[in-house]
Each structure stands twice: as C-alpha cells, then as structure tokens.
Amino acid sequence: MKKSVFLGALTVAGLAAGAAAAGTMDDVKARGTLNCGVTTGLVGFAAPDSNGEWNGFDVAVCRAVAAAVLGDASAVEFVPTTGKTRFTALASGEIDMLARNTTWTFSRDVDLKFEFVGVNYYDGQGFMIPKELGVSSAKELDGATVCIQTGTTTELNLADFFRSNNISYEPVPIETNAEAQQQYLAGACDVYTTDASGLAATRATFENPGDHVLLPEIISKEPLGPLVRHGDNEWGDVVRWTLNALISAEELGVTSTNIDEMAAGTDNPEINRLLGTEGTLGEMLGLDAEWAMRAIKTNGNYGEIFAKNIGEDTPIGLARGLNAQWTDGGLLYSPPFR
C-alpha cells in the first residue's frame, strides 16, 4: 500500500514564555488603548451597566491612567479576569495593569513578581449576623456556623481569629459570594464573613437590610490596590503617580468642577505642580504637562470617585473610615508632588 507522509509546515511559536516586553508605556501608546484587567463583576467596584459601559471604583483607576497616558478616558479595553486568571493575565502581558480589588501581600509582591503601586481601598475582614441573634461582638460567636468562601485568605484569617480567641466555630464552605448570600439568608449559617466592603454591598441587596448587622471587629488587613509587572519601573511610576494624583487632588481640594479654574493658576504651588502650570513633573514621567489634570477631570478626585461608586449615598453605603485622607484621621497619604 502506498503511503505518503506529509510533514505539515507547523509554525511553532517560539517558547518565548512570559518575556515581559520592556516599555509597556510605548506599547500602550502605540496600541492606542490601555488593556486593564478588572473583575468579572463586583458591586460598586467594577461592573458594566445596562449600556455595557464599565463603571465602578476600580474602573475609575483604569480610566484615570488611560486619560493620563493617552488623553482619552474611554481608550480602555477592559479585560475581565477571575480570581484564578488575574495573575497569569498580567504576567503573560495580556493586560498592562490590574485593578481588581487585589490584596497587597508579601508573596504576591515578591514571589509572583508583581509591583503594587499603592492602595486605593483599605479593606478588612468583617462579620455579618442577623440582628435577632443579639450578638454584639465577634468574640461571642462561640459555636457559630460560619459561611466562608473557600480558597481565600479570609478562610485562614477566620481560623486564626477563632484560635487566638480560644472559641470554636463550624465552617460552611461555599464557592461564590452569590451562593453565600443565599445560604446566609436561608439560615444555613449564623454568620457570613468576607471583606467588610463586600459585606456592606451584600447587605445592601437584602430585602430588609436593617435585620442584619456588621460586627465591629475587623480581623484582617486587606489593602487593595492596582498592580503592574515587575521590572518596568517607568510604567509602574505612571500608574503609581496617577493614583497619587487622584488622592492628592482630594487633599488639595481640586475637584472635577473647579479644576478648570485652578488650572489657570493658583497661589498654592503644589496644586500648580500637580496640574502642570508649574514645574516639569509630567516631562519626568514621560508624559505631557497636563497628564494629572486629565486624570482628575475624568471622574473627579479620589473622594468624588468614592462617593459616586461606593459612598454613603449609594446603595452600598460605605463610610470613608480608614479610607479618609490622613488629615481626616484616615490612612490615605500621598507623597508630595515635588
């Protein structure tokens, strides 16, 4: 039998694994859009509205960076990532930055080779419990059944907290936040624990939010912030200082409404440096002088973004708390623009 063997011309792509191209900023400028990794959906932080437009607290950071670098806040390609795919998407270069309520931890920073450029939300793990149980402190939860998302840091924090207080609990493992809401409402567990912002957002969707209380204890530190790849410091600087510009703008009283006025020149030299009427800060970053002005104009300063997406006037209703400016007793403290 006649057999012909054909070797197909296989174009095997070289195993250029994860060769993170230097010069992300050049890539972004050449492409004309910023690829920004966000969550597939978290109330208040990132979700598309009924017109398909992404909105939210994390999304605002992406838009500010796009406005600073490309001059167009809508030039963002939002790449939805799950908790499982987010780090590979960033490491493989599919996205330029990740703004997806990601906790800044030692191992993610050092071992996974990422660079957290700052913190845009200080979160912490809390407890939610039906009011009728009459519990006022997490230390009274001895013997409680606790709904907990598996495979997260919250699971470990919970075990630590109960052990150090020498009380017992029974975990009810669940997969997603949506499932947790149902389980908790159906009474499968007495307590639901996750990040405090998530608890507040969850409670806001209940039919009777007043029947449930958040306990005062916050048992972990969860600083959430945007991150970029290790090794491209120029790009890391751009994202870091865009975030700082939003924070500084609030501290200095620059808002989206008065920014045009202030851009004409003020008596405060720091505002002038921030908005590019004085000094050459933009040039040092490799951008033009008005980069920060565009970033702030997009969605306003940090305070405006907070109020619009997750603040007390929204259904989520988070108080500023730790996320107030340092001048108001919070932790937000941007290095000076000098």
């Binding site: 009924s50 939805p80 799950t82 590979t88 493989s92 997603t176 209940f206």
Partner: protein
C-alpha cells in the same frame, strides 16, 4: 281489540343502546382505573395532589404577581411592598445582555438574529432529508455567511476563506483518481496557499468603512455565545469523531495509536482543565503580541473534547454491527472508502444516534463552563455583570429560571428531533 290483549307482547325493534354506567365511562372511568384503583394508589394520588397544590400555591403567586417594568431591584421591592412576587423586570431591563452579551453593539442585534434564523434554514436539509437536496448548497455557504453576519468587518475574509475551500476541493477532485492520499494532501496544500494569498489580498481590498461594522470576539456574549460554541463544536466534532472512530479500528498501527492516545488523553482530562489551558496557559507559549482569538481557542478545545466522546459512541455503533456486514462489503469487491460509506457507516451511525444526541446535549450545556474563564456566556453574564450591578444584585431565581428555560427549549428540541429521526430510520420489523 280484546283478543290482542291475550297475545304476549313481542318487541319488534331492538332497544336503543343505553350509555354505559357512569362509573365505566369517560373521565370517571379513567380516574378510577388510573388514580384510585386501590387503597395504596388512592393514598399516593391524594399525597401527590397535596404536593402539587403546595408547589403551585408557593410558586404561582410569585410567578403571576411578577413585576415587569422597573429599573432596579430596590424599585421592584418597593412596588411589591412585602407581598410575594418575582422581579422579572431584570429580564426586561437586561434581556439584550442576556442574549447578546453586554458589548455587542445594540443597533447590530439584527445580525446575530438573522444568522440564527438562517441557521434554521441551513440546518433543515441536513436534519430532514425529505427536503430538496439543492438546499444543501446554502448549508455549505452558511458558515461563511454566519461568520460575516456575526463578526462583520470586510466581506473579503469569508469570501477568500470560501475560495480556499473551493480551490482545495478542485485540486482534490482532479487528483483523486490517481491516489486518494496525494489528492487529499495536495488539496489541503492548495487551500493553505490560497488562504495565504487571500490574506494579502484581503488587506489590500479591505475598505476603511466596511458595510457591516466589525465586532471583536471579546464582545460576544450571552446566549449567542452558547449558541455559537454549541453549533460550531457539535457540527465539527461529528466528522472528526467519525474519523477518530474509524482510525481507532484501523489496521495501520501509527494511525491507530494516534487515535487511541488522542481519545484516551482527552477523555481522561476534565473539560474545565482544557478551557484553562486555552485561556491562560496558551498565552505563555505564544510569542508576546500574538493575539490568537479566544473564541477560536475555546472552540478548538471543546471540539477536541466532544469529538473524543463522539468517537467512542460511534465505535460502539461499529462494534455492534455483525461481522457479516463487513464481510459482505468485502465480498462485493468494495474498497475501504466505499464499504464504509455505503454499508458500514449508515448502519453504525443509525445505532449511534441516541449516544450522539446525548453527547450533543451534554456538550451544549457544557458551553456554560466558559463562564469560569471569564467569558460572558449566558451564565457568565448572570454571575458577573448583572448580579454585580448595583441595580440588580440579589436577583437569582428570575435570572436562572430564564437561563434554564432557554437551555430547556434547545435541548428538548434536540431530543425530540432525535426521537423522530430514530422512528424515521427504523427499517426492522417489529
């Protein structure tokens, strides 16, 4: 007159037929025989009725009292004001996102809709072979039309893709008399060359403003994505599965090994793992900057997965044929291709229909797994954007009920079709 009295009465015409007793006819008989034919059955009937009543009294008010015209969950709950009722307004508010995803341009919704209607036309001659055979021409053209409609962009891409197939087929049919293998591989080479040339020409010919606005794969979503994945993967995996099943039965060791290793490997790996490979790991192996379409990657993985299963189903059909059928084909002097095409496969495929349909239905439902790799199919849309919006966080039953309804309609139609097909192909005497 009087003498008549002594004569006993003789009836001259038959009595009119009386209706059967009330207990032996109509609904009463049916009830007696089917529901109350003994104390045990009576008890079970009563219990079932109580159960149905409970179920209906819980769900019907919720269903019938549904609210259809609010903009957010809070508003809907305000209108309901504590009474039981569903907030179906999430469906009226977000139906377009559930069907088409949140990024498909809304003024272009007619395109996937038209593609779906044409799908029915294209599938009809394949599914119902009483229809005129000429309709198959349209079926052959359909993939290119559908691609153009859904993805848009320049019309030259699908035209050159089609031309490549035509060129490949022409070359194949010219050479097939001499040797099947030469013709087959020359056909593939010719098609590749013409696609390569077509790529250049497409760049030259593509106008700046195509008639149909181009839509990125990333922007596909909703039930449309499930339909695309399901249709493409089922129709691709069937021929590949047949080839694999035949290869596994082949006498040629290398071909046999390749098929066995492929089938066993794919069947030994969960689909979700393959999807993760498609989404995450491939990005490491491709050179930076290459964008290999995500939908295409997922289609390849799901097709591989489904064809391994279909291959095993068809192998079952092949094994069920009596050996005499193979020998009969040989004794007629048919070569391998003819024997398979004319005698073996028609019978083997008929036996395999229930299995193939089973795999197809399962595969169609498995397309929802892509929500795990952050693609927004129907379930991904529900779990991600819609439940994460401030307006609709907290609506579960209404959304998942809608999703189940859509999937049920499609899967039930497939299963009904397969039953019709089995009856239609029944040639034995029972």
């Amino acid at each position: 007159m009087e003498e008549h009295l002594s004569v006993s009465f003789v009836r001259t015409e038959p009595l009119p037929q009386l209706p059967p007793p009330a207990t032996e006819q109509g609904i009463v008989k049916w009830l007696r025989e089917n529901l109350f034919s003994g104390w045990l059955n009576t008890l079970l009937t009563v219990l079932s009725l109580i159960f149905i009543y409970k179920l209906a009294s819980d769900t019907l008010p919720w269903l019938l009292n549904g609210i259809w015209n609010t903009d957010s969950l809070a508003e809907c709950r305000e209108i309901l004001d504590g009474t039981t009722g569903a907030c179906f307004s999430v469906l009226t508010d977000r139906w377009n996102q559930l069907l088409f995803g949140f990024k498909y341009p809304s003024e272009q919704y007619w395109r996937p809709t038209l593609a779906f209607v044409l799908l029915i036309v294209a599938a009809a001659p394949v599914l119902f072979f009483d229809l005129p055979r000429k309709m198959l021409i349209f079926t052959g053209l359909y993939p290119f039309i559908a691609f153009y409609l859904i993805w848009g962009g320049t019309i030259w891409t699908p035209i050159f893709a089609l031309l490549g197939f035509v060129v490949g087929y022409v070359v194949y049919s010219r050479l097939v008399r001499n040797s099947f293998a030469t013709a087959f591989f020359s056909g593939i080479a010719a098609a590749l060359v013409s696609w390569w040339l077509g790529g250049f020409l497409t760049d030259l010919l593509a106008s700046e403003t195509p008639a149909l606005e181009a839509v990125q794969s990333r922007d596909m979503g909703g039930f449309m994505l499930n339909m695309i994945l399901g249709t493409v993967c089922v129709s691709l995996s069937l021929p590949i599965g047949i080839v694999l099943a035949l290869g596994r039965q082949s006498d040629m060791p290398i071909i046999k090994w390749i098929c066995v290793v492929f089938i066993e490997f794919i069947r030994g790996v969960p689909l979700i793992t393959l999807l993760f490979v498609a989404n995450v790991v491939l990005a490491y192996f491709l050179p930076p900057g290459t964008s290999f379409d995500l939908i295409l990657r997922v289609i390849i993985m799901i097709t591989m997965f489904a064809s391994a299963y279909i291959a095993e189903v068809i192998r079952g059909g092949l094994a069920a044929l009596p050996k005499g059928q193979y020998e009969a084909a040989d004794s007629l002097g048919l070569d391998y291709a003819q024997a398979m095409r004319l005698i073996i496969l028609p019978q083997a495929l008929k036996i395999s229909i229930p299995g193939i349909v089973n795999v197809s239905v399962g595969l169609f439902k498995d397309t929802t797994l892509v929500s795990v790799i952050s693609m927004f199919d129907l379930v991904g849309m529900i779990r991600g954007p819609i439940l994460a919006s401030t307006d609709w966080n907290g609506v579960y039953w209404e959304l998942f009920l809608f999703a189940s309804l859509l999937f049920f309609v499609v899967c039930y139609s497939i299963s009904q079709y397969s039953q019709w097909l089995e009856r239609r192909l029944q040639t034995d005497h029972r």
